[in-house]
Symmetry: C2
DNA sequence: TGTTAGCACTCGTAGTGAGTGAGTGCTAAA
DNA sequence: TTTAGCACTCACTCACTACGAGTGCTAACA
């Protein structure tokens, strides 16, 4: 059973619906997801497996509409599911969807990559998910600001540059290659490392008092100019907008759906991916931040699977989209992967794929410690 | 003067053209770049500063067409520049274009970023270029395969992971966070570093004999499983497709031009950016690789500024685009930045902006050694 | 009382065809 | 050599029509 988070906190109750209404609603949404076009009573009677006349279906449709589950684009068009309708639909999704052979094949790649580098696991998962679902996949590699640098290291590269390594609270390592005006020796670099560890570990960088910073600069001697660069690098790693942790794949997939066939729509979705990664980050982080931007309601089930309906966000780019997402452990931290698709996307398949992903990443607690013999059992539920 | 690289190596000669023809051709292209629509004789007579009657202009146009400088979309439309026409046009571009105040303002940002981290300089430059030109900017951070790893380093992160640092021939540093199944100590990591430096420096990784690799695994002891991971990381860094070095910004800009107003066009250009970075890399690397894919001809001037006409590549996504690009030193290596726009893009402005960029990055030989007092003199030529 | 057939009505869409206007090429006069 | 005039082309716009999928209502039926 899914939980509903509404703006006003109420919990929805569709138990009013008769079984027949449920069946009809479900058929309508299935048909709509399939075709992308408003579905009418006649077609539903003919191709949906409902043994009722179009007229009866019409009556039911009309009631479903007044109950808020369906919308009408215009008088003489068929019906289209409303956000409420979609919510009902995903709630009924418990019946399992069996992933196809090719889908399982692709998802199987995941287990192969569990042994690879930390930073690329999520990347690969993201690409694979976009390939499997044929929608866009969005991922967030680190879902909180890391706060402070736990430990510094510095690697000598050459006379004029070194690599600053910052190990964060969550065990992830960030690096930044820095250049110096003055000649650097290996010894200089070692000293820099020691100074940083002595002075900046666990320090919230925007709260450094000026005198402390000046003292640090003095300790750097002729390399004092580096202090600013280092602080800037550390700051952007701990306090940065984190947009580099947001990855998007499969935009092209998205553009092939009719809901993005106008250039404006396409443009707004490309813009989202190109210059609004911060917003996507907020979306994936869910919770308060999203709430304040009107990015709720969202529904969520007991497996941590969450669904966001873009329609209700008031955001133009997201208007016709939905996002299904969930988080799971990767290394010492958490990753979030979501599928962004048209709001009429194939929820069954998407939910099944994400569940498969979450299970194969999270099953052993620590996804990056390979167990070598991971099986694929071919069933997604 | 620009040099022309043709498929068959011939050098073009437009000296045949009378001054009047040149003037008319130039006006037509200016008008077309401005409006994006075929330009007719009447309009040209009215708004271009040519004191000839439409009829005369028509005669000249007709001759320019048969000489191959102009094309006609259909009988009763105006004329449109052909690839040859564009080539003539950019060749005449010597007359300088003065960048506007806002443009200079934006470009001025470049000098501020000269002091920042190595890896982000090109990123920022790319973003700024797309902002200034209102087209897409593409950049290549490293224009050759690095060959081998010059030196290894390893930074202990925690009990189950460490950061592998690979310093390449060109002085750039690449890192990869690796996880180990068995508990790691700082000492283990130090030993790993020594083993790598003793065995893999300067080694072409795909030519390691099996016995050597087995010996290395033995030396790793219980951490033998790491050898494979390390080799894979090093291989992808030295021999990888290098697509992560290709950055694209301003796709959204591109989508607002009418030549990309069909979804198919938009899709193909998004696809190019999303999953064909390898091709973009080849383009920016120019030379042989491009040649073999039919990615020539290209014209090039004495400042290293190059222009590629997508029309002639036979590549659908590039069909309506041009790419103006040039390379300049960043740190110890070379970067290439290009502007990808509709083939009727504002070459004057783009060339001026790129020249400004190349000059402010390359002027001091070593762009990453700040001189603190870089001036902006407000003239682009 | 629930279900269905019939029918009038709505409304988006595809197709048609006349009108418009920007553009060309040709010819003959200046 | 330049220009005015003229016939012709052709994409584009717009009003109009026909079509058809769909609805809602009413009355008959099981």
């Amino acid at each position: 059973m899914w939980l509903y988070f509404f703006g006003r906190g109420e919990v929805m109750d569709e138990m009013k619906l008769s079984d027949r209404k449920k069946q009809i609603l479900k058929s309508i949404i299935d048909a709509y997801i399939d075709s992308g076009e408003p579905v009418g009573s006649k077609n539903l009677a003919a191709y949906g497996n409902i043994s009722l006349s179009p007229a009866t279906i019409r009556n039911e449709m009309s009631e479903l509409e007044s109950l808020g589950y369906l919308d009408k684009p215009h008088t003489s068009a068929g019906r289209v599911p409303s956000a409420q309708g979609y919510k009902f639909y995903v709630d009924q999704l418990n019946e399992d969807y069996r992933l196809g052979v090719e889908e399982l094949e692709l998802l199987g790649e995941l287990t192969r990559f569990k042994t690879a580098q930390v930073e690329s696991v999520i990347d690969r998962a993201n690409k694979i998910m976009s390939g499997v679902t044929k929608y866009a996949a969005v991922s967030l590699a680190r879902n909180e600001n890391a706060g402070t640098v736990k430990r510094f290291d510095a690697v000598y590269i050459g006379e004029h540059s070194f690599l600053l390594v910052m190990i964060l609270e969550d065990g992830s390592a960030k690096t930044s290659q820095l250049a110096s005006e003055f000649t650097l020796t290996e010894n200089d670099v070692r000293k820099i490392k020691e100074l940083l560890n002595a002075n900046l570990c666990g320090v919230v960088l925007d709260k450094i008092p000026l005198d402390q910073m000046m003292a640090l600069e003095d300790a750097f001697g002729k390399h004092r100019a580096l202090v600013g660069k280092i602080l800037r690098a550390a700051y952007s790693v701990t306090r940065g907008d984190g947009t580099s942790d947001v990855k998007i794949d499969g935009l092209t997939n998205l553009l092939s759906y009719p809901e993005f066939s106008s250039v404006e729509k396409a443009r707004s979705i490309v813009e989202l991916a190109e210059s609004r990664k911060g917003d996507i980050r907020k979306l994936l982080e869910f919770s308060e931040v999203g709430e304040e931007k009107g990015l709720s309601p969202v529904i969520s089930d007991e497996n941590g699977m969450k669904i966001f309906f873009g329609e209700e966000s008031g955001d133009g780019a997201l208007a016709d989209t939905s996002l299904v997402y969930c988080s799971f452990p990767v290394g010492n931290t958490n990753a979030v992967i979501g599928i962004l698709g048209p709001k009429r996307m194939d929820y069954k398949k998407v939910v099944a794929s994400l569940k498969f992903l979450a299970r194969s990443m999270g099953e052993n607690g620590e996804a990056l410690l390979p167990d070598g013999s991971k099986r694929i059992d071919g069933d997604a539920e």
